[in-house]
Symmetry: C3
Subunit: 135 residues, 3 copies
């Protein structure tokens, strides 16, 4: 098995931010030299998510509003007594913090309208994602 790994550093600017990281992940894949296999993006942070969907500005706003509607901030959570970010954890709990994408001919097999998003749920922060390619 071939294996390559890089840490992808991301700076977020807002409490909730949906950041397109497709270009950065593609560059890591190119540098790995691996042509066939699987790529895994993993967030070691409990107040974030990694999701694949379409990067359209209205839709990105809809994603944020949906998170606030389904898991409202400050809705009497017990964890808020310790650290005021229970909503951030619960949203991460539902979204999940990694994605595994097939690789062919040195490219991720993303659909035409697919981007990889890092979902910051408790920013602004510096985040370090782990990108692993196996082939």
């Amino acid at each position: 098995m071939e294996k390559a790994r890089e840490i992808l550093k991301i700076n977020t600017q807002k409490r909730v931010e949906i950041k397109d990281i497709t270009t950065e992940v593609s560059e890591i894949l190119s540098r790995s030299g691996i042509k066939e296999g699987l790529l895994n993006v993993y967030s070691p942070h409990s107040t974030s998510g990694v999701v694949i969907n379409e990067n359209e500005s209205g839709l990105v706003r809809d994603f944020k509003l949906t998170l606030e509607k389904v898991i409202p901030q400050g809705a009497g959570y017990q964890h808020d007594r310790i650290d005021n970010n229970a909503d951030s954890h619960i949203r991460g709990f539902l979204l999940g913090g990694s994605q595994t994408v097939p690789v062919e001919n040195g490219k991720m097999m993303l659909g035409t309208w697919q981007s990889i998003f890092f979902i910051e749920l408790d920013g602004p922060r510096q985040r370090n994602l782990t990108v692993t390619v196996i082939g």
Copy 2:
């Protein structure tokens, strides 16, 4: 590393449709000849999901009603001004579009009551899933 890959073509008939693809994925695994490893089903579509659960007709209806309850169609989304399928994207955003399943003795290690479902969220359409086996 051994690697095999096939594109699984699916035709859906309804806007929201939960389609059991276990048989088709199992056949791809058999053709791959790989006996031990991991199998990844990936949807390159942003208005779909790939989920594993039980195929019982009442439950499948409950899944659909839950999607409509948690993420209602046409609830004032911004993306609906561009393309009338914001709910389809947001449901895909929450469900996720891939699954990774262990493989042993040439079979997926699914539980007795588990099926792999393709969740069509903006059909009817032809969809092309990527099934990758590594071993």
Copy 3:
């Protein structure tokens, strides 16, 4: 490719229980002897989830209350006429039943505040998770 696999047996005590299995999974990784690659935890049960987040007792209670709020038990589901656990399936449908984590120097690359949780949604039961390491 190196591959190792073990079944992790878990006993749950409650209907809904969020159980930290990080130690057990780490021990399986150690026994595998694999130093670099990916680790997959897979639940072959349709009324459970596998999630990574922070193990703080207030937060764990918030997770449970959120599951009950978003997917209430006994809310007129069709599957409840057959087997009184539709909510358990629907919660599993949304949470997902596996996680794939990068491995480096023989350790999972979990964040400081990350634990792997088995989410029992229809206990008490004995559950058998599949832990696969490839490297």
